[in-house]
Symmetry: C2
Subunit: 209 residues, 2 copies
């Protein structure tokens, strides 16, 4: 068995992937670790080291062929097919997510939106009909959705997450402040609570005074 790639390396791959896509959209065909590094504020050596964990993608002197590297990263990140996503909670943040135009071009399709409020259930966000959260498990199972974005009130987060696991969800992007306790081999979690992220920054901002 291979040693797992460090998560910090994995976290940088989407950034490389998106930067290369922008370069390609701008008509560029090749790049170098130096150029990528300058764009991203990461050292060229770090980029070479990160990518070398997955294979030999570039040549000394000629650098990387952008279309080839994009294809490789697509496979590594499992983005060679699209993914359906469920949004749980149709409050302000849930609505903003459902309206966001950045997902579909990257292969993420918002397929289901759920809420508890009788005022919202049955109404539309764009083309999506807001579903009753009581129907969460059968609806997600039927649609075969594997990824959920969680934007419910903090107090409801753990209970809803437990339901998501029962529904067969394998990845949760958690926008609540509640740290979720879920079986780690079943569900991959990313926590995107803005308060935690701000506090992570204030640690450094205060230090530099």
């Amino acid at each position: 068995m291979q040693t797992p790639i460090p998560d910090i390396v994995v976290s940088r791959l989407p950034v490389y992937f998106q930067t290369l896509q922008t370069m390609q959209a701008e008509g560029q065909h090749t790049t170098s670790s130096k150029e990528l590094g300058e764009k991203l504020g990461i050292s060229a050596a770090q980029i070479r080291k990160d990518l070398s964990q997955f294979g030999e993608f570039g040549k000394q002197g000629t650098g990387y062929i952008i279309s080839f590297l994009i294809d490789q990263l697509k496979t590594i990140l499992n983005m060679d097919h699209s993914w359906d996503v469920a949004v749980i909670g149709a409050g302000n943040l849930g609505k903003a997510i459902a309206h966001y135009h950045g997902f579909a071009p990257q292969g993420f399709n918002i397929k289901l939106v759920f809420d508890t409020s009788p005022d919202l259930i049955g109404t539309n966000i764009g083309d999506l009909n807001i579903l009753d959260i009581d129907e969460l498990i059968p609806c997600i199972k039927k649609a075969g959705v594997k990824i959920a974005m969680l934007t419910v009130p903090d107090a409801a987060a753990q209970a809803v997450a437990d339901e998501l696991v029962k529904a067969g969800i394998e990845g949760i992007l958690n926008y609540t402040s509640t740290p979720l306790n879920l079986p780690p081999r079943v569900v991959h979690l990313r926590h995107s609570d803005p308060v935690s992220q701000l506090q992570h920054m204030t640690y450094y901002i205060g230090k530099s005074k």
Copy 2:
């Protein structure tokens, strides 16, 4: 000079901090690394190791006094005073952030909101008047705001971030897909692009098939 604490450790402190606050709100006075670990899905040893980087906060056998540990973490995270925050971009996400009730209780006050759209400038989000992004530098300087949340369109992100640096901003929470290239000693960045976070998860979800 001390060795800097690894960023991965710093990233866990807000999670400990918020979990302890919840325990305190529920009337609990003491806890242990074991209990914290079970709540968070982190090993007790990891929690003890993380906290020991900052001092001796608990005792073998008796565990941690919650109010004391909260005070210590407040100081470490520079959350012993409140922070003013500017939101740049009053689209769906900017509005959701401005309406979010989770910031103020944690000491983050949304003070300024900016947009480019003549239809939005001068209108209100809650109590906040949307300001013209052309006035960004003088308004932020005058208010002395040090933290910004960036929710502008991707194509505008780098240019607006450059303005934020000129305005004296020291921390940017970047919600766009654009990786920002800014002087690292001046600005602390957190990138919260949902597409990157989803791709970070699909790496693992696809692997476990």
